[in-house]
């Protein structure tokens, strides 16, 4: 199903949200996946990797289709993103971010590089992460990720919707404004407020 074909009044993301809250233990998710990932990087544990694959590959495909990849492009790029996680497992440090964020970044870069064919994205961005994020204690990171999920759930409906349109359709803020018949300044101030709210309480690195 292509989420773009849904009538505009019914946000597919609100449905997603309602469904996901019934899922398994969200408070343990980030910790669970980092733990699986640690088994991959330390012991090249295939079972752990395939658990990550089974959970995340369909999510990455869904994300890529939302960005405008065709079905087969989304499959190909999702496989490549997951394979990259396997190949670069030793560079994945559980203390420097979650598996979901890592995959999000890789999938986005692959889409922009291969589908949109913008040259900038393969070379830039990865080393910003490697160099910059100071090791935090693992529990702290999981609390942050869980905290972020909880904060997203408490955003006002319009802010949550704009955020999801921006992330899952990679629409420019102008395109969102046009689609919703909303002034650009209003779209931006909603997004700005949403970001500040999500950011507050998260530790900034020095």
């Amino acid at each position: 199903m292509n989420i773009r074909t849904l009538p505009i009044g019914v946000s597919p993301f609100d449905q997603t949200r309602a469904m996901s809250s019934s899922g398994a233990h969200p408070t343990e998710d980030a910790g669970y996946w980092s733990w699986q990932m640690a088994a991959v990087s330390e012991r090249r544990d295939r079972d752990s990797f395939m658990r990550i694959y089974d959970h995340f590959a369909p999510r990455v495909r869904l994300y890529l289709r939302g960005l405008g990849s065709t079905e087969s492009q989304a499959e190909e790029l999702a496989q490549e993103a997951l394979l990259r996680l396997w190949q670069r497992a030793d560079r994945f440090d559980a203390m420097r971010g979650s598996v979901s964020t890592w995959l999000f970044r890789i999938a986005r870069n692959l889409h922009i590089d291969r589908v949109r064919r913008e040259p900038l994205w393969q070379s830039i961005g990865e080393e910003w992460i490697d160099e910059d994020i100071p090791p935090a204690n693992t529990t702290e990171r999981h609390v942050e990720q869980t905290d972020l999920a909880a904060r997203i759930d408490t955003l006002p409906a319009v802010q949550a919707r704009l955020l999801r349109m921006s992330y899952f359709e990679a629409k420019s803020h102008q395109e969102i404004a046009d689609e919703l018949v909303m002034p650009l300044g209003t779209v931006k101030s909603h997004l700005r407020r949403a970001f500040l709210k999500l950011q507050s309480g998260l530790k900034e690195f020095p």
Binding site: L82, D90, R105, R164, Q174
Partner: protein, 222 residues
């Protein structure tokens, strides 16, 4: 380098979500490359992306295709054992003649090879070719010049690469970003010393009032 003027929250979000035009992204990248504060905010914005990705709920339809893809992945694990990749060290920080790497696709790699075009007394410019619809320009303005008052039809994202200027919003030096909305009206004045060089992405024409506009706009083609 510790910039004092940063990217707007919406630009950080736009980068994280892949929503910036290539030209805006190129200017944002020149800032992110030198600004730890904005990289930290970007890490948060990408964390939001990861959280939203995690919250996606794939349909059972999608799961149907899994066995076939899963087999391919298992085969790929054998073909690609994970390997130790030494962290990449870009040659980005090379010599002083090197332009910021995000600008290479548009302006080449070397400051010395830039072919500046005369625009007005004390003002030179290069406009990038092969852009997506947004304009990307390098501006080189002599020291002590006062630019005319102008506003922007849309968004203008500017990064200072050399020299500095002052306007109604403050002092902008090397590393600073000016992330301006359509409502901003400003009159930049470049500082004494060396020329001020900026890279700017614009999503709509600059609006200069009066004679300067009539003289400049046909030349700039913005």
């Amino acid at each position: 380098m510790s910039p004092r003027h940063h990217l707007d929250e919406t630009t950080v979000l736009g980068w994280a979500s892949g929503a910036l035009s290539p030209e805006m992204a190129a200017v944002a990248a020149t800032h992110l490359d030198v600004c730890r504060h904005c990289r930290s905010r970007l890490a948060t914005a990408e964390g939001i992306g990861g959280t939203l990705l995690e919250q996606q709920q794939p349909s059972t339809d999608d799961a149907m295709r899994m066995p076939h893809l899963r087999e391919h992945m298992l085969a790929a694990l054998d073909a690609h054992p994970n390997r130790r990749v030494p962290p990449r060290r870009e040659e980005a920080t090379a010599g002083p003649d090197n332009l910021p790497r995000a600008l290479h696709p548009y302006f080449g790699t070397s400051w010395r090879s830039l072919r500046w075009r005369w625009l007005a007394p004390g003002v030179r410019m290069i406009r990038a070719l092969r852009t997506s619809g947004h304009a990307l320009i390098l501006l080189r303005i002599d020291p002590g010049m006062s630019m005319p008052l102008h506003s922007h039809g849309g968004i203008e994202l500017t990064q200072v690469l050399a020299g500095s200027y002052d306007d109604e919003l403050g002092h902008f030096g090397v590393g600073d970003a000016a992330d301006l909305g359509p409502e901003t009206l400003h009159r930049p004045v470049t500082s004494a010393g060396g020329p001020c060089v900026c890279v700017a992405a614009l999503d709509a024409p600059l609006r200069f009032p009066g004679w300067f506009a009539r003289m400049l706009q046909p030349l700039v083609g913005l």
